[in-house]
């Protein structure tokens, strides 16, 4: 009884009247509201009525807030949530350690990818950065080192005087930028995973972030700009493959004929990892990992799951690749943090 009363009290405190009604209704119908904080790229998944219905079958209602994965690991007050669901293994590892959580769940993953446009692909192919659907990070870094601008690339159809730079999220808050740092630092470190505060590597990769100017704190916002405003604002952008794949699978017309998806070489996998803080959240982790219904829904939202067949089935006949090559491991949380901290100093 004591636990249940506390539960009601907390729910009321957290969500106000509406949640109170739900929880009170709950006592009769047996629906449990579970709140989590997640990376923004998973919000469409949790908002999907089919996903909500699938949870409801198990007596669960999942409410989510979004935040950058690095904020989830080190900024957000987690005490009001039942689980954290950042987009990377290093961030989850940190939360797991801080909160003394026994087991985590990694139900789905997505490689980092480059969303761009046909004229950009043509220009970058001529410049030797792109071949087929592969985006060569080493060649790209050489172009960035020289401060090359779009209008200076031979045969460029994109006549902007802007620097050739991939759009990313803010490295200080967001995971997709940290994943981008993981793969660029690997190349800048002579094809090796960075192990600590390497000043030379930081020096080389800093312009990738700082010279972009203002960047957004979540990965959905710039991707939306890419979709809605096109090449003028965002000629090329670092995304989770899942963001692009979800739009492609939905066939909602948001992926226009000029849009292209490239795979960086090397790439890293963003392993979306759920860290549960209570029993209900553990149940959510289990369902997402083991229940085929959720695996199918996750694939619909563009994520790859333990069974490669589910995603491959949907990706058939699309530009999405079935087999990922040249995948490298991200640095540990601490090493990645040290590198981020060195870049962060340069914002001051």
């Amino acid at each position: 009884m004591r636990r249940r009363l506390l539960g009601v009290a907390l729910a009321v405190l957290l969500g106000g009247g509406v949640v109170a009604a739900l929880v009170l209704g709950n006592l009769g119908s047996g629906v449990t509201v579970v709140r989590g904080v997640i990376g923004s790229e998973k919000k469409p998944f949790f908002d999907d009525p089919q996903v909500k219905a699938a949870f409801a079958k198990h007596g669960l209602q999942v409410e989510v807030d979004t935040a950058g994965s690095r904020e989830i690991a080190a900024g957000v007050d987690l005490s009001t949530y039942s689980f954290a669901f950042p987009s990377s293994a290093p961030a989850a590892e940190k939360i797991k350690k801080d909160r003394g959580v026994a087991a985590t769940f990694a139900p789905f993953f997505s490689p980092m990818a480059v969303a761009t446009f046909e004229p950009i692909v043509a220009t970058l192919t001529q410049a030797g950065v792109v071949s087929g659907t592969t985006f060569d990070i080493k060649k790209y870094l050489e172009i960035v080192d020289k401060g090359t601008r779009w209008d200076a690339l031979p045969g460029s159809a994109y006549k902007a005087r802007k620097r050739v730079l991939l759009t990313t999220t803010d490295i200080r808050t967001s995971n997709s930028a940290a994943m981008y740092l993981a793969l660029t630092s690997y190349v800048a470190n002579g094809d090796d995973v960075v192990r600590g505060a390497d000043a030379k590597v930081a020096e080389r990769v800093s312009p990738l972030f700082l010279d972009q100017g203002y960047s957004e704190s979540t990965s959905e916002a710039p991707f939306e700009d890419y979709l809605a405003m096109g090449m003028g604002k965002t000629p090329m952008i670092m995304v989770y493959e899942a963001q692009y794949a979800a739009r492609l699978f939905a066939a909602d017309g948001s992926i226009s004929p000029q849009m292209r998806l490239l795979y960086p070489s090397p790439t890293v996998l963003s392993k979306h990892t759920l860290v549960p803080f209570d029993e209900n959240a553990t149940e959510i982790g289990r369902l997402l990992t083991d229940d085929p219904e959720f695996a199918e829904l996750a694939a619909k939202h563009g994520f790859r799951t333990a069974d490669p067949g589910v995603f491959a089935g949907l990706a058939e006949g699309t530009p999405l690749t079935r087999d990922l090559v040249d995948v490298v491991e991200p640095p540990t949380y601490d090493h990645l943090e040290q590198l981020v901290a060195m870049i962060e100093e340069r914002y001051l």
């Binding site: 009884m1 004591r2 009363l5 506390l6 009601v8 009290a9 907390l10 009321v12 405190l13 957290l14 969500g15 106000g16 009247g17 509406v18 949640v19 109170a20 409410e63 807030d65 979004t66 935040a67 900024g75 401060g147 601008r149 006549k159 902007a160 005087r161 802007k162 620097r163 730079l165 808050t173 312009p207 700082l210 010279d211 972009q212 100017g213 203002y214 960047s215 704190s217 979540t218 916002a221 939306e224 700009d225 979709l227 809605a228 405003m229 096109g230 090449m231 003028g232 604002k233 965002t234 739009r247 909602d252 017309g253 948001s254 914002y347 001051l348």
Partner: protein
């Protein structure tokens, strides 16, 4: 069990404190006011409170926005640069988009050939330096459209290709001066700028949001600089301290349905943000390159500082200040504080940007039943501290006695010579009715007889104490100024707001 009881007590407290019947409170920039009618259809009861972008950003950063559930400014970019601000924000969702561009009278656009071929900011700056057109723009320190325009022009003229830093800003300052030499009209808000422009046939166009320019009654030719623009994306932003997430989600979901997006596009001329909603023909087909926005607070502040102190057409500000007997006590104290605030005593960003600028001419005309003397100050190009100190010392010595001769004093302000190389304006602050000297009608006749260059000097009126609201409004209307109400707020805040119009 004790914990459970405590929890129940908290439940009771929270049930009374937060009722679902209460409106969803939004602290908003005045530029989204045009959406208020549309939001009535959303099914969520929303209450708006309007404030300036920079002022609002600082309120949020200071943690003074606790009464609100969300913010809605044209952009969160400046806000994100302020230390401590990001932590105050929860989810943010972009609702629509509007680039800051140049709108010109069609005849002027045709004369310059800008209606037919791609034009760069660099072309525009060169043409401005040759005195071939004039424009109006909001003050970058108080309005987002002005700030976005300044960033866009500076980024484009700097020829750097990456985000602005201190070094690029100082290198681009001479080019910025060329561009802004053509600015003949300024304002603290986008809406007022559009109104003021209508009354000024000598100004050829406006730098403003595309949405404002497309909404003008008198059609303008829009020039989309081919080297890039800075756009507003209007993020509706849940504050971290709000417990109204459900209403926020409901409102955002409704705002982003294709149907609402189309309504927003039709009613407010803003571009939809949701992919798949086709653009109306009025937006044209010019490709829009988005220019990088500074990611360091120091760069943003440096740019605004350079604009105010070096780039803009310098101001001449005349302050007509009521120091009659009725000002005795708290009121004269408020006046002293308000003036001292403008000498650099307020060290917040908003306060810093409101101070008397380098190169500015400031005249103080304190009055009672007659003028109590005239104080003229010239703030130098560099090292303004000494002159600011003199203004501060004088302001602190103001005392209250005597009757109130408003119109004699205001007339004396209009007797001041007008320098065509300066942007002149008058601030009139009085706490009561006219008791001595000439009447409003006398002033009206006098004003109507003034030459055009003197008539162009606007009077910004501050309501204070027991001001005669009707007559004060008439002065503002007559001179094309505006009224600022400090009767229930602070005189310093009103003065800071007026600085955006000087």
């Amino acid at each position: 069990m004790r914990r459970a009881l405590l929890a129940l007590a908290l439940v009771a407290a929270s049930l009374t404190a937060c009722s679902a019947d209460e409106p969803f409170r939004i602290l908003a920039g005045s530029e989204v006011a045009d959406l208020e009618p549309l939001l009535k259809e959303s099914g969520v009861e929303v209450e708006f409170t309007y404030t300036g972008t920079l002022d609002g950003a600082e309120q949020v950063a200071r943690g003074d926005a606790g009464d609100y559930d969300a913010t809605w400014f044209s952009s969160n970019r400046y806000l994100s640069l302020i230390d401590g601000a990001r932590e105050k924000l929860s989810t943010q969702t972009k609702i629509m988009n509007s680039p800051v561009v140049l709108g010109l009278k069609p005849a002027k656009a045709a004369e310059l050939g800008w209606d037919a071929k791609p034009v760069t900011w660099s072309d525009i700056a060169t043409t401005a330096a040759a005195n071939r057109f004039t424009f109006g723009m909001t003050n970058p320190a108080s309005s987002n459209s002005g700030f976005s325009a300044l960033v866009g022009v500076a980024a484009a003229l700097s020829d750097a290709g990456e985000a602005l830093d201190a070094q690029t800003i100082s290198a681009v300052t001479p080019r910025l001066k060329e561009f802004f030499s053509a600015q003949k009209l300024t304002s603290g808000s986008s809406g007022w700028l559009a109104d003021a422009y209508t009354a000024r046939p000598d100004v050829d166009g406006l730098v403003n949001y595309e949405s404002v320019l497309l909404g003008m009654r008198e059609k303008l030719t829009l020039v989309y600089p081919s080297d890039g623009v800075v756009s507003a994306d209007y993020p509706l932003t849940l504050l971290a301290g709000s417990d109204r997430k459900e209403q926020y989600d409901e409102l955002v979901a409704w705002l982003r349905t294709p149907e609402t997006q189309r309504k927003i596009m039709t009613a407010t001329h803003r571009r939809p943000i949701v992919p798949g909603v086709a653009l109306a023909p009025e937006f044209g087909s010019a490709p829009l390159v988005e220019l990088p926005f500074p990611n360091r607070r120091s760069a943003a502040d440096e740019l605004i500082g350079a604009y105010l102190n070096q780039v803009r057409v310098p101001a001449r500000a005349v302050f007509v200040l009521d120091t009659s007997g009725s000002m005795e006590g708290d009121r004269i104290d408020s006046l002293r504080t308000a003036l001292v605030t403008l000498t650099g005593a307020d060290t917040s960003a908003y306060g810093t940007f409101s101070r008397f600028r380098n190169r500015e001419q400031v005249t103080l005309l304190p009055f009672a039943d007659r003028l109590k003397g005239q104080q003229d100050y010239q703030v130098p190009e560099t090292g303004p501290e000494a002159v600011l100190g003199q203004i501060k010392t004088y302001a602190e010595s103001l005392s209250a006695d005597g009757g109130t001769a408003i119109y004699d004093a205001l007339r004396a302000a209009y007797e001041q010579p007008v320098d065509p190389g300066r942007y002149s304006s008058i601030v009139l602050m009085t706490d009561g009715e006219n008791t001595d000297g000439s009447e409003y009608l006398d002033f009206q006749l006098y004003y109507q007889g003034l030459p055009a260059e003197k008539k162009a000097v606007r009077t910004f009126v501050v309501l204070f104490g027991d001001s005669d609201v009707e007559e004060m409004n008439e002065i503002a209307t007559l001179t094309g100024g505006a009224v600022f109400d400090a009767r229930n707020g602070s005189l310093a805040e009103a003065f800071k707001e007026i600085r955006g119009y000087q």
